[in-house]
Subunit: 237 residues, 2 copies
Amino acid sequence: MAEKTIGILGGMGPEATLDLFGKIIANTPAARDQDHLRVVIDSNPQVPDRTAAIFKEGESPVPAMKAGIAALKRAGADFVVIPCVSAHFFLDELQREAGLPILSMFDVTAEHIRQHHAHIRTVAMLATTGTIKGGRFRAKLEQSGIATLTPEGPDQERVMAAIYAIKGAAGARDREAIGAEIRAIAGRLVRRGAQGVVAGCTEIPLVLQPGDLDVPVFDTLLLLARAAIAAAGKGLV
Amino acid sequence: MAEKTIGILGGMGPEATLDLFGKIIANTPAARDQDHLRVVIDSNPQVPDRTAAIFKEGESPVPAMKAGIAALKRAGADFVVIPCVSAHFFLDELQREAGLPILSMFDVTAEHIRQHHAHIRTVAMLATTGTIKGGRFRAKLEQSGIATLTPEGPDQERVMAAIYAIKGAAGARDREAIGAEIRAIAGRLVRRGAQGVVAGCTEIPLVLQPGDLDVPVFDTLLLLARAAIAAAGKGLV
């Protein structure tokens, strides 16, 4: 069976796009260039802010995202992945009109937890306020029998500020401080009963690694990378 | 003036493509996603081996590269950069037929050395045997008044083996050993009179950093990233 071409609808932000591309390369079994998969990327940072749009306080990102999917299709993509959890709020709308299948981070994450961590009944969600208030990631996990804990008011504001700070190219020292804050917030949710932490925004794994906490941390971008490689018809490293 | 969209003709190899994309992001002045440039990438690792083709021992990569440039054009690229020095052997042929301007690593490197290191008359070239025997990078530097020293026979074989080992996803420990070998080879060329070292293959900067030697190391991929940002109409960090 011919391998499929992965299309990355990127730019939301560019660094998460880079991170996903790197995770696809690192998780593909390859001994030479020609063993890798074809990946086409449209990294378009001009897509309007997703969280603002979820709150109906900003322009919809859907037209720009549709244009990006059309560009990926013209470039030869067989299916699409989107390295931005907040953007998944608009997935149903995009799926209907995009003309290419989209692999959902919500589905991939819920399936991974069910298959590999079947004992988990409650996870902590670290995500943009858009993702949290949008409620669609929570709904998908609930369908899979997984309840979601979210940071309390001021903690959620800190998570959101941290995400924008990372997007704003926070320096190495700032990143260390941001990481410490994120770990503390996650720790409070674990004490409230979370048996795992979902890094539910692509910026979070840049400051929170598996092993940083006593419970599993689910890097949704890594899960998406591995699912994309499998969907393209390759084994995994 | 509207900013231009950068097209990356990638996959030769995927890791160099990732590295270039990362260098474009890191060198773009940005405080939020929307400040970044649009970048479209076709990372197609099935492009035939460039060094084998230069020696007429393998299939030409030109048809696959032309198809990639056409895909980038359809996706909206305004100009093209190619994160593979060896592939630049075929640049004249591609420039004639591609339908999009291509920014040459040879030109960018020669101009950088002339503008910022005007005292340099001789550089060491660490590159694939295809790039060395192809002679076109050397010719471009010579036009700018810069002579090129290349590793002697067995050292050149070691450079080529190192490049393929890096492409083959050499582990961190292997990379350290490869880096030590590359530094030793570069050191011998400096003792023969090289006043700077051109990392003339995109895999070389992965194991040789500026500061590793007493003379400047020219990371051709970084120079290409910065030239692409400027060509797209942005300032630089």
